[in-house]
């Protein structure tokens, strides 16, 4: 038995054969006949056809080969350089299972194709899927999603609902006109919430929040009507649901890329922000179209909404990159609304008195 305790000094040039059935280390000699003959003292020789011999991983200074027609783990280890060269010369297909430049090019090609298809999916298939899937989601489910997010909103923005009676009546009147013009049913509800942040948004299932700070900045009913019509537009298009489907899909698809590369999360975050911002901008533009449509239908101009937004944000261009923003730039929106400006052909949406009441909807009520 030829086991060497430590190091390889005594077998520097010995050829070692493992038959793949046991871990026994066999010192062998080789003969190059019609096939490679592996000879061991006291055992029948083993023949390997040259064309079946393949290179296996080995440390430097050793040629290690396997044979397709032998047990898969049978290995021949040749340390003698001349002998290794002699064998290599006879084995035409020695390097065939190696990962060469061609394989790498193939991996790169396929990966680029996969990445392109992922990008295509994100840019084209996902918006389509969102459009087609959103109508299939039951209303009841959408409402539940809305209720779940309502809980969060109330914790973030506080729970101070403004409901002074006269103001509430005016608000209900305004909303009813807009809702009917937009073709939405009574699922739509809306409240004014007292917060310092000038904003408004729609939750899935039909709840619209108007923040008191935005109401405070408004100078006439048409400004607020335009904003509310915009939110109704989101509801009509089911943008929340579509956004959820789109954003979820995007996160997943982009997450397939880059896996364990340290520091890749920034790349993933950046590319995801880019595409979701573009998707959201489109949704905003479509909601603006609803404002234009509804206001025209009611014989009013959409321009005041643009003016209100401009008053709130100021000029946005130059401060941030338009392709990173989730909204179109305010000045662009104002421009669009101005282009759609028409002299009023319908009655005012609220009377002077109602407008004043609405403005005061958050004033403290003296409770008895």
């Amino acid at each position: 038995m030829s086991i060497f305790a430590d190091g390889v000094s005594a077998l520097d040039n010995a050829t070692v054969y493992f038959d793949g059935m046991s871990s026994r280390r066999r010192i062998v000699s080789l003969a190059f006949g019609d096939a490679l003959e592996i000879r061991e003292d006291g055992a029948a020789p083993v023949n390997w056809a040259y064309d079946d011999i393949r290179r296996a991983d080995s440390p430097a200074g050793m040629l290690r080969v396997s044979c397709l027609s032998a047990p898969p783990l049978a290995r021949l280890e040749i340390r003698d350089e001349a002998l290794a060269a002699g064998l290599a010369l006879r084995c035409a297909r020695l390097g065939e299972n190696r990962i060469g430049g061609g394989t790498v090019a193939k991996i790169v090609g396929l990966s680029v194709a996969a990445s392109v298809s992922i990008v295509m999916l994100v840019l084209f298939a996902l918006p389509l899927a969102a459009d087609h899937l959103a109508p299939l989601v039951p209303k009841a489910f959408e409402r539940r999603v809305g209720e779940a997010s309502e809980v969060q909103i109330r914790t973030v923005f506080g729970d101070r609902v403004c409901n002074r009676a006269a103001g509430q009546a005016a608000y209900t009147k305004l909303l009813k006109q807009l809702r009917e013009a937009a073709g939405l049913d009574t699922d739509v509800q809306s409240v004014v919430l007292a917060t310092e942040i000038p904003n408004a948004f729609a939750l899935p299932g039909g709840k619209v929040y108007l923040f008191s700070a935005l109401l405070a900045k408004a100078q006439n009913p048409d400004e607020i009507a335009g904003v509310l019509a915009h939110e109704l537009g989101h509801l009509r298009h089911r943008d929340n649901l579509r956004g959820m489907i789109y954003n979820g899909g995007t996160s997943f698809l982009i997450g397939l890329l880059f896996g364990d590369v340290t520091g890749s999360s920034a790349l993933i975050f950046a590319s995801r922000s880019l595409v979701t911002a573009s998707y959201s901008r489109e949704a905003e533009q479509n909601a603006d179209s609803v404002t234009i449509e509804v206001m025209h239908k009611l014989g009013r101009s959409p321009k005041p909404m643009g003016e209100l937004l401009f008053r709130v944000t100021g000029k946005e261009g130059g401060r941030s990159l338009s392709f990173l923003a989730g909204h179109p730039l305010t000045e662009e929106r104002l421009q669009r609304m101005t282009a759609e400006d028409r002299p009023p052909s319908g009655p005012p949406l609220l009377t002077e008195k109602e407008w004043t009441a609405l403005k005061g909807i958050c004033d403290p009520v003296d409770k008895k």
Binding site: F18, S22, S23, V108, S111, V112, E147, D260, T262
Partner: protein, 386 residues
């Protein structure tokens, strides 16, 4: 489940005479490894990360085939394609689970609010542990030495259960029970591991690990507070862990032993930190230079440039910064792999002596290959297993 019980498998009656302990050696050149990983990292970027399966395979092939025990080098027979398939399989399983969970969460969150994410954490922890077990099984079945492969049986889910219960116990004891958790889990893994027909076992005891490492447990709060101490404590912990783990492994009568000292890995971790800090400085300098260039070209003053927030919308600057960031990321990946994988492996191997290697002189080949599903889960869930 008979195979859950530990049955010591005695080697064949004709035992070879005991041999003096043998050492383990690493014969690979550092330059080769650096080239391999640098090229792999570049390809990873070009392929949006898909090359990771082949890079991981190339790294293992290099490390395995250059690791010699008793004069015989190991071999890694796994291939990148297997990892890719494992990843796709894992995705096919995880995606419906994610989706179902997402829908269930909405319903639950509406009713119970805050605790809704807890089951998700449990579920993913279980999957992660399953992944760790199965990933090791994949790697082991691709490890060949002397023409005979290592292999593993046992159940990934049985392991995940044990890991979860022990994990809970560690949490309750503020980490004190960690040595016993590691010992118990390693016992499960090792008694289901084989080299040919030689069954593995694990003799490391939680108590020994605790004795060697309890001071680290005491130091941890301070190390976390004074950040500078964290690498020392972590390096100390890793050294103690390696030594304890290696010295506990058995395959039949074969018994490795590590003599690693507590401070052996400190230098390595600081080397990695030093390189990363250097890369960070270079990256910052590059950013500064880019800003100077862009500002110079635009004719603005620095003050205007930053006060008007023009820097956030300057596309040439963003492109320059992005490219620099990519190079920075590549550099960090290279450092981590060269220092914390290759150099660490060398350091560990240098401390190993293997007793009774004669017991592995005539082992009969046995065992089936396992799929790379576990590796796929590990990739999809971002857990690292060993």
């Amino acid at each position: 489940m008979n195979d859950l019980n530990f049955v010591p498998l005695h080697p064949t009656p004709m035992q070879p005479p005991p041999l003096p302990p043998v050492s383990a050696m690493f014969t690979g050149k550092r330059g080769d490894f650096v080239r391999l990983t640098a090229r792999g990292a570049a390809l990873e970027l070009v392929t949006a990360g898909f090359y990771r399966f082949w890079l991981a395979t190339d790294i293992r092939r290099h490390l395995w085939s250059n690791t010699e025990v008793a004069g015989d080098a190991a071999e890694y027979t796994g291939r990148g394609k297997e990892l890719l398939i494992g990843f796709l399989l894992a995705m096919a399983i995880l995606v419906p689970i994610y989706l179902t969970y997402f829908l269930v969460t909405i319903e639950v969150e509406r009713r119970f609010k805050a605790f809704a994410t807890l089951p998700l954490i449990f579920a993913f922890y279980a999957f992660g542990q399953f992944a760790i077990y199965r990933a090791r099984r994949y790697r082991l079945t691709r490890t060949v030495w002397r023409g005979v492969r290592f292999w593993m049986d046992g159940s990934g889910w049985a392991y995940a259960w044990r890991a979860m219960l022990w994990g809970l116990f560690v949490l309750v004891t503020l980490g004190l029970a960690l040595p016993w958790r590691e010992a118990a889990l390693e016992r499960y893994k090792m008694r289901h591991s084989y080299y040919g027909d030689l069954q593995g076992s694990f003799e490391g005891r939680g108590w020994e690990f605790f004795k060697q490492g309890w001071w680290l447990w005491l130091l941890t709060p301070f190390a976390l507070y004074f950040t500078i101490g964290a690498p020392f404590v972590y390096a100390g912990f890793k050294a103690v862990e390696w030594r304890w783990w290696l010295s506990g492994i058995r395959f039949g009568e074969v018994r490795p032993e590590s003599t690693m000292s507590r401070g052996a890995l400190i230098g390595l971790y600081w080397t990695a930190i030093g390189w990363i800090a250097l890369l960070g400085v270079i990256f910052l300098a590059y950013l500064g230079l880019s800003v100077a260039l862009v500002v110079g070209a635009s004719g603005m003053t620095f003050r205007d440039f930053f006060q008007t927030k023009a820097f956030a919308s300057n596309i040439p600057l963003l492109v320059l910064a992005g490219a620099g960031y990519l190079a920075f990321v590549l550099g960090i990946n290279l450092v981590m792999r060269v220092v914390l994988m290759r150099d660490l492996w060398l350091k560990v191997l240098g401390t190993v002596r293997v007793h009774n290697i004669g017991a592995a002189a005539n082992v009969t080949a046995k065992g089936e290959l396992a799929s790379a599903l576990g590796e796929g889960f590990a990739d999809g869930l971002d857990v690292a297993g060993f």
